[in-house]
């Protein structure tokens, strides 16, 4: 279904949803940092900056309680978290690189065991993506087969138009339901031209070729060359729309507390460290190799998808300038570093 919505009506839509108690999450400024956060008013939404963190946290938060426990003598009571805890949510202003990562994550969170923390939020969330009209040279969505107009993952996709407003296209029942439920705010499509899309400077890579190299090069001097620079923080994994590794810990006292899951990263030395002292990935090059392998080989082996959407956040945030786009390009072109 194709429609048109003016900026004014979009704001009205969001404010109406907020008034109804729907959680509306969009890019907004938080003390000088752009983030995807719940809005209290549509006027808070910003459209000109890529949020520092991805949209994955609307489904996979930094930290959440998964149960609580209480001990009394020899008895323990374990209490589940309220299954109705997740509110109806509209995630709006989502960049294509962020939206496309969400269906990629569906695969691992529903692999045999259904992680309802992720999946229930998915069921209750409608995603409104928006095409990118600005990019910087860290962006490389085009290298991984996506684009500033990628609609994958969006229930409703907005394309900014010259003169204001957006062309809207639905890609799911949820998108259609959103329009149907607010039909007075949507008009028939206009003839207005789209604002020119951003042009990331990277050319499309043959990811099958990258994977074929990774299949054969578990051991390779490339890993020492790049990864020696890596200082082993979790910045790249945490701000990545596709990284999903997590830790489970008990926090509280001996008598009562919570079990929580929170973001973790394969870059940390502790990630694979056994209590016995043995660590299969004891040096940083081995840990960094795992990052590249997971994204461009293992996730493909397991789920037929690439675990990267080219948003460029890791490139921008890496303390030591490790550039994943540069790495996969070097692999694909066959030139070692």
């Amino acid at each position: 279904m194709q429609k048109y919505i003016s900026q004014h009506n979009l704001n009205t839509l969001l404010d109406t949803l907020i008034a109804k108690g729907t959680r509306v999450v969009a890019p907004r400024m938080n003390a000088g940092t752009p983030l995807y956060e719940p809005l209290t008013s549509a006027s808070e939404m910003i459209t000109d900056q890529l949020p520092r963190r991805s949209a994955k946290e609307a489904f996979f938060p930094l930290c959440e309680d998964i149960m609580s426990y209480e001990k009394e003598g020899q008895q323990v009571t374990v209490t589940d978290i309220d299954p109705n805890r997740f509110p109806e949510t509209v995630l709006v202003g989502v960049r294509p690189c962020d939206a496309a990562a969400i269906p990629v994550l569906d695969a691992v969170f529903s692999w045999d065991y259904k992680d309802e923390f992720f999946l229930e939020r998915r069921r209750k969330t409608t995603i409104i993506g928006v095409a990118c009209t600005v990019a910087d040279d860290a962006c490389f969505c085009t290298a991984v087969g996506l684009s500033p107009a990628e609609t994958r993952g969006s229930d409703l996709f907005l394309t900014p138009l010259e003169g204001g407003g957006y062309a809207c296209e639905t890609y799911s029942e949820k998108g259609e339901a959103l329009i149907a439920g607010n039909s007075d705010l949507f008009a028939e499509p206009t003839n207005a031209k789209a604002v020119p899309l951003a042009e990331p400077g990277t050319e499309k890579l043959d990811l099958a070729k990258v994977k074929a190299w990774l299949d054969e090069h578990f051991e390779d001097p490339l890993w020492d060359g790049i990864a020696t620079r890596c200082v082993g923080c979790g910045a790249c994994a945490f701000i990545c729309p596709a990284c999903h590794c997590f830790d489970i810990v008990d926090e509280g006292t001996e008598k009562a507390g919570k079990r929580r899951k929170s973001w973790d990263a394969c870059g940390f030395w502790k990630f694979t460290h056994h209590a016995s002292g043995h660590n299969p990935r004891d040096l940083q090059p081995k840990r960094y190799r795992n990052r590249i392998m997971h994204k461009f080989k293992y996730y493909d082996d397991k789920f037929g998808q690439t675990l990267c959407t080219g948003c460029g956040r890791c490139v921008r945030v890496c303390p030591v300038g490790i550039d994943i786009a540069q790495i996969i390009e070097k692999i694909e072109k066959g030139t070692g570093d």
Binding site: G32, R52, C63, V231, C233, V317, P319
Partner: protein, 306 residues
């Protein structure tokens, strides 16, 4: 009104670094050189470890050379083998960190070949790497710099760096915070620490966080919660600021790398201010055997013992 900063010497500095690096590596005076090279993004730079003299042509110095390379010489980086003398490119701020590490017996001066750079400043983390260096785009730490020409190096290019007089950003912000009530100040820091995602980028780039297993990475006992929640985040940053007090050289890498724009260097600069007032100590180019918080003298103020 943009005030550009003169970085015209940087291309000559680059040439001088390359020539010297080529010389010492070919002559076998060093087995490796840690420096900066250009990266894929326009105007950007990244750390590089060179062992082949042919690769010295890759070395650069520009306003994007933000990294403190000292971190690559600490024992926390076990995967960089340290055989023989290592050459390292250092700005004044980086050199102060190296001096601190020497004082803590982590490095020996004779194992290093210091290539100092005359530095007019580097870019802030908030701007794109290809941005022109101006009073507005310069890193906040550079506004308080007093070490544009590093001392005591084995080689420094002959160029003289520009020394623009800039508004001291940290001093101004510390004064602003000091003027707040404790409740207001606490509210400010609570808001900042609530943003922390526990990525530990601040710790991993810090040359002084060289403990092979960080106290906060242990779970017997669990000193600080690992999950990114406000109370644990606050504890983490306070613990780190205390562990750095009297050691931190002010390279401000922690603040640069924080993905959430937390003004971490404010904490460290405030601690440095306290250390100066209480113990007349500041990080510099003289190797001190022990930092002030690792020593006790009879002259120390004991008025707090009631």
């Amino acid at each position: 009104m943009t005030q550009p900063i003169d970085t015209s010497i940087y291309s000559a500095v680059t040439e001088a670094i390359r020539a010297e690096a080529q010389r010492i590596l070919s002559a076998g005076e060093v087995s490796a050189i840690v420096g900066y090279a250009a990266a894929r993004r326009k105007g950007s730079a990244q750390p590089i470890v060179i062992t082949d003299a042919a690769d010295t042509a890759k070395l650069i110095f520009s306003a994007s050379c933000v990294n403190n390379l000292a971190v690559y010489l600490t024992k926390a980086k076990k995967d960089i083998p340290k055989k023989g003398r290592i050459g390292i490119v250092v700005k004044g701020c980086d050199l102060k960190a190296l001096v601190g590490l020497m004082g803590e017996s982590q490095l020996k001066r004779e194992d290093l070949y210091l290539i100092g750079v005359p530095c007019a400043g580097v870019l802030a983390s908030t701007v794109q790497p290809a941005t022109e260096l101006t009073a507005e785009t310069i890193a906040p730490k550079c506004t308080e710099c007093d070490t544009r020409l590093p001392q005591g190096c084995d080689f420094v290019p002959a160029q003289t760096p520009a020394t623009p007089q800039l508004e001291r950003k940290y001093a101004a912000e510390i004064a602003r915070l000091e003027a707040l009530t404790p409740a207001e100040r606490w509210a400010y820091w609570k808001e900042q620490f609530a943003k922390c995602i526990k990525c530990y980028a601040c710790r991993q780039v810090c040359p002084f966080c060289f403990c092979e297993q960080c106290l906060c990475d242990r779970n017997k006992p669990q000193m600080v919660e690992t999950t990114p929640r406000p109370a644990g985040n606050t504890a983490w940053h306070i613990v780190r600021a205390m562990h750095l007090a009297g050691r931190c050289a002010g390279c401000a890498e922690c603040e640069r790398v924080c993905p959430m724009d937390i003004p971490l260097n404010l904490l460290n600069r405030k601690m440095a201010k306290e250390l100066k007032e209480l113990f007349d100590y500041e990080a510099g180019f003289e190797v001190n055997d022990k930092g002030p918080l690792a020593t006790f003298t009879e002259k120390d103020d004991q008025s707090f013992i009631k």
